[in-house]
Symmetry: C2
Subunit: 172 residues, 2 copies
């Protein structure tokens, strides 16, 4: 089965992200707005139990931390993706690093760029138009992160949460 | 915020349910296929922490149990809803009952009918056609339930998982 590891930001950020995703992100209906910690990876059922054990230990070793969003940014020209840029901070980078150092060696496709996608797979014209407008907007969000989630993907491409890991609150 | 409590059945059941939901359920993109334990209810942030504490105790007092699906059924003529009928069993009824007896008095709109919706809001003609066909099909699913989930609703009507409660594995 295909799994992923994400943080769901709080409702106000999700609602704001969805106001753009609805029009500009073809994944809008597949998953709520999220910050990806581990991109989709294949795992059998037995290994998942071991991974969950590891994720609980990681969650217990993590303290709730703040994240800040101040602006949108983009992966262009590599891809016409626009996202809420999450300012990197030590706690977030450490959390992502620990997850990738787990024995499952969850691979990164790219360097870790903390972000919440709000638009993707745009044509060049759409991209210029949307990014031009959003880049003028001011975004100011602060959020406290105290958990992350393990999800699996259904045949239709959508994602279901399998388990939540709350910092410092997991029974190992 | 508006919360709900559900069980997500395993991937094979979700995939099968989605093959019908895609065409016949306008909530298809708002939430994965699910068995509702607690219908949507309003709760403020402080009360949620108390509810979560209660739900952990309930989860720890519940053992994994099997559910069986043998056929589709319907709420017609009350509503043109078609669902995978989950055979009621003691453990499932007890779990639902405990959740409704929590101090938040999560209200039932109707008697508890364990079910996974696969079609709703059909016109009468659609309903007759779809139910006529599905009622002839044989469905045979067995699943082991070992967790339930607390979700909240976003402004667009979709649901995000807030926390998972694994039977016997919660730190209280």
């Amino acid at each position: 089965m295909k799994y992923g590891i994400t943080i769901f930001p709080s409702k106000p950020i999700q609602d704001e992200a969805n106001s753009y995703r609805k029009r500009y992100d073809p994944h809008y209906s597949l998953i709520p707005p999220h910050l990806t910690l581990g991109q989709s990876f294949e795992l059998d059922e037995k290994s998942v139990d071991v991974l969950i054990h590891e994720l609980k230990i990681i969650a217990n070793g993590t303290k709730p931390f703040s994240i800040n969003i101040n602006k949108v940014s983009t992966f262009a020209p590599v891809s016409n993706t626009i996202y809420f840029k999450v300012e990197p901070n030590k706690e977030l980078l450490e959390l992502e690093s620990k997850i990738h150092q787990s024995k499952f060696n969850i691979e990164r496709e790219h360097a870790f760029v903390p972000q919440i996608t709000i638009a993707q797979k745009l044509t060049n014209d759409e991209y210029s138009d949307v990014f031009g407008r959003l880049n003028m907007n001011e975004f100011k969000f602060e959020d406290v992160i105290d958990r992350f989630q393990l999800l699996y993907q259904l045949d239709n491409g959508s994602w279901t949460v399998y388990e939540t890991f709350v910092f410092g609150r997991e029974l190992v």
